[in-house]
Symmetry: C2
Subunit: 513 residues, 2 copies
């Protein structure tokens, strides 16, 4: 076992086995959301808990630790002198595996199993409580989940702020100390922009988007755009589910879902493009590193940057619709035949504070995220009790968006995340938007013909740029390092605000403020 | 650990974890046949191999053996004195688990992995070779699989005949010594019947079945029959696949598939009914025993008895079509509006030797099985080399059915089984037919109104009888014991031959010979 290459090979074969268990879990979850008969839910929850507990137990078993300790200095988490002969990618593989291992080992298998079971239960109660607008029904389950998250924080530990322990799960390296000033600047920029929007004399009308649109035609158009984006249907498929999502079992089997409503054109359309962006990332991960961190996506924020880049920077741009709007008109002549490109583009970019995050425009979307981030922070810092969340939600919504929900179903109950135990997840959505703006700006600088390509419906050059610069890297670099390698800059809100001011200024008839 | 109930509880929790792994495997396989994008095949094969190897390794780990040895006498394989306080069902659970364990332990994990991989490969080559009618292309893979089966026989051991080791996998307790005389009697009976058919002056015409039938209407009718049979769509679903099959992940999630051809009415119809019979068995297994042998189906022969009973004894009977033919006519007025019940029933029961097993009528079907059984036996007893199988196939077909294939695609290459390593499987199809006749005869005796119910389209009394007498038993009894408990008889070909003589005599106009 003295040869580092041999050690690495043995380690990879063990990681591959765990990857297979996780892929099987992912298929069970996909099936649950798309095809599983209603009666199969209970058995499925138990099968999933077994697979996940087993994957965790196998990962933290002594075998993997022993192998890692041959090549890693546990004090730094970096490759040690025995690993000198290995290439940089292998050293990154070791570093990331050690990071995952160190984290996983802090969590007892018994805790994983309890968390999995309670979240599965909480999710079912949440769905029912949301339907019935009944927060008190859901309260005990949410309290249990939050208590488990406190337990998790204790296991994981933290340097500065307990919330960091959760955040780090989804966005390695991110901290409250980093996010708060970033979000403060962003908030001010967005509120200024919102003020301009409110004062505009010529706000767009988006009622054309909510006529009756045949569902099969909507799906056909969604597929057409996915094809154009380079989403490979030989290695993927599109299904329907209540909430759109993307899942992958290997770069050769990456599946996206959408939903379709007859009276809502943007819902199916932008779900397809958004999930297509996620799908391209997963299809673009390096197959030769499958089973190791180098074959995995970097973070939720980077993943979200891919979906938001396609959905917003591309899918809500005039360049994109220059080519695709005539095609959309061909799908829906009575509804759109007489509509101009400008009117359609303006409708897609209408800004209006609303209660539901997933329906929010690009300006108010991140204000929704800040509401959630601040509530989560208050929860974890014990400044608010779980039972008082509905009130705090109304307060924050009023403060940030100027509106507040009457029903909890449109407020604190709207998102599934907390019932899944996913606290610390929401900020990655905003990070995704910020990364997207920086990546897209850079792509346009690197390839000066990119906007023209998009105007002509040629989306593959953009896909190739993303493949090369982001997807192929897996987890070889940290988010900050990747951003720096690709754009030469540190994370900043400026590119996002600048992009948004230009577009929204154009649509609302005010100059770049 | 001295309390047998505690030991049993611990054992069950370990078995449940293994069950979950196997269920996940089953979902991966189902998905592969129904929804997986074409590019995902290689990764899926590896994921499946991992799950199956892991399930096997967990089963033969010392933990389970230790628990079993507390309550089992390894000399007899039966519960020992320490298990005295347990009920009969628990003792049966121990007996069956020990039997599975003893068998699994003989097979090294490394062998399971090799077999899984070679079969996955052989299956792909087989599909291609069949398409191209190219046996030599497939020969090396088949030779490898057969060599592995010899290795498996060596691991498993046998008393009398090496083939028994394979047979026992699929039909516990069955032996060559038992099958040969049974098959000899059956063969003579079928050949006599075939002679009567050949001499008939009024053979039925089945061309009405091969008109153009809308595929959606065919599927709608298939679903209608599945509903009537009591197949629960809240705990199941119907999909399309190249080869129809049934799979279950729990009694609350049992899925059937069919295929549909526009010019072939029987294909989709009888696939639905056949798989529906399998599906009712899996939906009817006792949920409280899920994870243990008592929650599993008894054998492939018993499973096949359920599908064949519904497909043939019910689905090709005049009683069944008395109710359902008018409904079928409503689905296809131009094709069937002017056809009489008698003509339709006769067409469904036309007997004609043909090359393809899955399209065979009830008289010649078992002759196809005997061809395969004798070839497998010759292989395992080293009386024929793998390379000489195409010739032997032609000889046997000529001998049994009076016809021989020109192309290997219609001969030795037609079935997937050998590429899956499933040698010893085919005889269970004939056993299924024999069991089906005995069960159906008994059901009609137990419930004198059963045939009248079927004539009225009331299929639930039969489903309930099968639930009570067969499905609910799981593996509590052996096949022979179950047959004896239900019918008071030992396995015999007489009920099957008698049933067939009556029906075919009726259709072909000769009296019960």
């Amino acid at each position: 076992m003295s040869n580092p290459t041999q050690t690495l090979t043995t380690l990879k074969s063990k990681l591959l086995e765990i990857r297979h268990l996780k892929d099987a879990s992912a298929l069970l979850s996909w099936d649950q959301e798309t095809h599983m008969p209603a009666g199969g839910g209970q058995a499925r929850a138990e099968q999933l808990a077994t697979l996940q507990t087993l994957a965790h137990a196998k990962f933290i078993a002594p075998g993997i630790e022993d192998l890692l300790l041959h090549l890693i200095d546990p004090a730094t988490g970096l490759a040690n002198a025995d690993a000198d002969g290995l290439d940089d990618a292998s050293k990154a593989l070791l570093r990331e595996t050690w990071q995952d291992f160190s984290r996983a080992k802090k969590l007892p298998s018994n805790f994983i199993n309890r968390l999995e079971r309670e979240c599965s239960l909480a999710q079912q109660v949440w769905a029912e409580a949301r339907r019935r607008d009944d927060f008190p029904q859901y309260l005990p389950n949410l309290q249990t989940v939050i208590a488990l998250k406190f337990e998790e924080i204790d296991y994981l530990g933290y340097d500065d702020c307990p919330y960091d322990a959760l955040l780090d799960t989804y966005e390695p390296g991110a901290t409250v100390a980093q996010l708060q000033p970033l979000f403060a600047t962003l908030r001010q920029g967005l509120l200024d922009l919102l003020q301009h929007v409110r004062e505009s004399a010529s706000p767009p009308d988006d009622r054309i988007l909510f006529q009756t649109y045949d569902e099969q035609q909507q799906l056909a158009f969604g597929k057409l755009v996915l094809h154009a984006m380079g989403y490979d249907f030989n290695r993927g498929r599109l299904d329907l589910s209540a909430h759109p999502f993307t899942t992958a079992f290997h770069p050769t089997d990456v599946r996206v879902t959408t939903r379709v409503f007859e009276q809502d054109l943007p819902s199916c359309l932008f779900s397809c493009i958004h999930e297509g962006g996620h799908g391209l990332y997963d299809q673009g991960l390096p197959q030769e590193h499958y089973g190791t961190p180098l074959g995995e996506s970097l973070s939720l924020g980077i993943h979200e940057s891919q979906s938001r880049l396609w959905e917003n920077n591309v899918g809500r741009s005039k360049a994109f619709w220059t080519h695709f709007f005539p095609l959309l008109q061909q799908h829906f002549p009575p509804q759109l035949g007489a509509v101009s490109l400008e009117t359609f583009h303006a409708a897609l970019n209408r800004v209006k504070p609303s209660l539901i995050r997933v329906e929010a425009d690009e300006v108010t979307y991140n204000l929704h995220i800040m509401v959630r981030f601040e509530i989560e922070l208050a929860l974890i810092e014990k400044q608010v009790a779980v039972k008082d969340l509905p009130g705090l939600w109304r307060e924050k919504m009023q403060e940030y968006l100027g509106i507040a929900p009457e029903r909890d179903a449109d407020g604190v109950l709207q998102d599934v995340h907390w019932s899944l135990g996913a606290l610390g997840y929401f900020p990655t959505y905003t990070l995704g938007n910020l990364y997207a703006a920086m990546f897209f700006e850079q792509a346009c600088q690197d390839a000066t013909s990119l906007k023209l390509d998009i105007q002509r419906g040629h989306l593959l050059p953009l896909k190739d740029w993303l493949n090369r610069n982001i997807h192929q890297c897996g987890r070889q670099y940290s988010s900050a390092d990747l951003l720096n390698r690709v754009t030469g800059r540190e994370l900043s809100v400026d590119p996002f605000l600048s992009y948004l001011r230009t577009k929204i200024g154009d649509v609302y008839g005010f100059t770049n403020a």
